[in-house]
Symmetry: C2
Subunit: 314 residues, 2 copies
């Protein structure tokens, strides 16, 4: 079951209270692929300039990422520079240099056009639509977006929503898109615009999946040290989609598992700069952390307390 | 297994984006007792002025709250007036009139001194200590506090921590007390000061229990309409403590259940002004919502994904 991601392949310069990384590999496509490839092979489509350290992507290829879809264009690679607040809860963009990304027109290689599981990273919704035109018969399409597109290309984004299965956004984006502060009402609004499911990521608090009347909540894994939040949402998407692709199962129970694997990948992503942690671990680490989520949230609903009113007559 | 709460018995004037309630009954003791009495009898100790609408407390007495410990003093009752932001995520205190609460010296009636389960609502930590001096042999003491005491009576509060079993605070309080932004490190700091367990409430995101190396997370119940957050934390404490009291079981599994019943009560508390919702429901509503938490967080950890690394050799 082939899994395709279209997203940015970038060089990030990140300042956190714990240090700084300069021109580290990043971008939505790279974070997604780094996480997803721990569970399932991935096909990556993006664009880099002639200054991109291709040997860094080699590391991903060894882990099961097909990088033939990464186009090499003349010019500078996409660069993002940001600085996080002391509590890592907010960040300021210091510089964005689009470089070759400014003229990116995703061309899906013919061998990827049968992809069944597709993730559209955060790029211009017009490009996201153009990707869908090139995919023959996807089984599930998930999509991210951001505040910039919500305000500047709202109509195109609403058109896109009619063609995707899962919107994955953070709480601020869900609020801005729907105009509603309450995330559950925001989710319902989004579902009314097309997607069958919506995943709302809430950073350090976890993420929620809404599908019709079903709601599933997965907290963020409890970490005493969060190093760099960059890419956590894309790593989440990678875990979520890779689990669906490897299991080929869209049952409600399996979507819950996909949420857990998403949360697992998000938690690894934030433990170091760039994709350093995601590429330092293996599938056994993923499995162990997924299992730890059970202890974190499961409780034993003892029938005497959960099935019968404890006092009669009230 | 008797359950005692010492806390404020107040009159709240609350403005939310959805309306206003004037001089509605409230206070930590009242919210706690309203929630707890849905599961277990409660003994309430507090103080009111001669202007307090005692018939409102009668409603609680009918539900199993022993209000003989509520002292009637000459003067005005404690009044709090606050206004919530449009998103209910912050509030401004418009007025605090301590009235008879300014000279409150909790006197535990002799028949309450054998209480086994004790909750110390948010009052001066010196008074919280004086309550403990009056209890013969409690099985478990839980305690709330607030930023005001953390900054103005830090030493007394630290002394108190050595005598309690569970500190229940919100995330901002945990951070201020420990000086650490990360709630899990803050929890570890608090545990090093005495309590065996700490519960950190995170409002709309849920609450976390930390006991040694064990961490349990319960999300807030997904509500599309939150009406008035006042008292949610005390209602949470009421559900938590009442479940422990009725079950007389401090096993890790049962503490998780207590967290769920806490979250259930917190979710009911916010659905209307004052204790209106908590006194409109019965135990069957509590049980049904507790059961709904299972669907919200439980996932089936299919062995093929959770027990074996999906790919070998990495």
């Amino acid at each position: 079951m082939s899994l395709l991601v279209v997203g940015s392949v970038a060089l990030d310069t990140v300042q956190t209270p714990f240090g700084e990384a300069a021109d580290a590999i990043g971008g939505s496509g790279v974070f997604f692929a780094s996480a997803a490839s721990l569970l399932h092979p991935v096909q990556l489509v993006g664009v880099v300039g002639d200054d991109y350290p291709m040997q860094a992507l080699e590391k991903l290829r060894e882990r099961g990422v097909d990088i033939e879809g990464v186009e090499k264009a003349r010019g500078e690679s996409f660069r993002w520079k940001g600085k996080y607040s002391y509590d890592l809860q907010s960040r300021e963009t210091l510089e964005t240099r689009l470089g070759v990304f400014a003229h990116f027109q995703p061309k899906i290689p013919d061998k990827y056009r049968n992809a069944e599981w597709v993730f559209l990273g955060n790029i211009d919704p017009e490009l996201q639509l153009s990707v869908l035109d090139q995919i023959r018969k996807p089984k599930l399409v998930a999509c991210d977006t951001m505040n910039y597109w919500i305000s500047s290309k709202r109509d195109v984004l609403l058109q896109l929503l009619r063609h995707i299965d899962v919107l994955m956004v953070n709480d601020a984006e869900a609020r801005e898109l729907s105009g509603d502060w309450n995330v559950y009402r925001a989710a319902r609004w989004i579902l009314s615009r097309g997607p069958k499911r919506v995943v709302i990521k809430q950073g350090v608090y976890g993420a929620v999946l809404v599908e019709g009347e079903h709601i599933f909540y997965v907290p963020a894994f409890p970490l005493e040290k969060v190093f760099d939040p960059t890419g956590a949402g894309d790593a989440f998407a990678g875990g979520f989609m890779a689990h669906l692709a490897r299991s080929d199962d869209l049952s409600p129970q399996n979507l819950k598992r996909a949420m857990v694997f998403g949360a697992v990948m998000g938690s690894f992503a934030v433990e170091d700069f760039s994709i350093n942690r995601l590429t330092a671990i293996g599938p056994a680490d993923v499995t162990a952390r997924a299992r730890a989520f059970q202890d974190l949230v499961h409780f034993d609903a003892e029938p005497k307390y959960f099935d019968h009113p404890p006092k009669a007559g009230r």
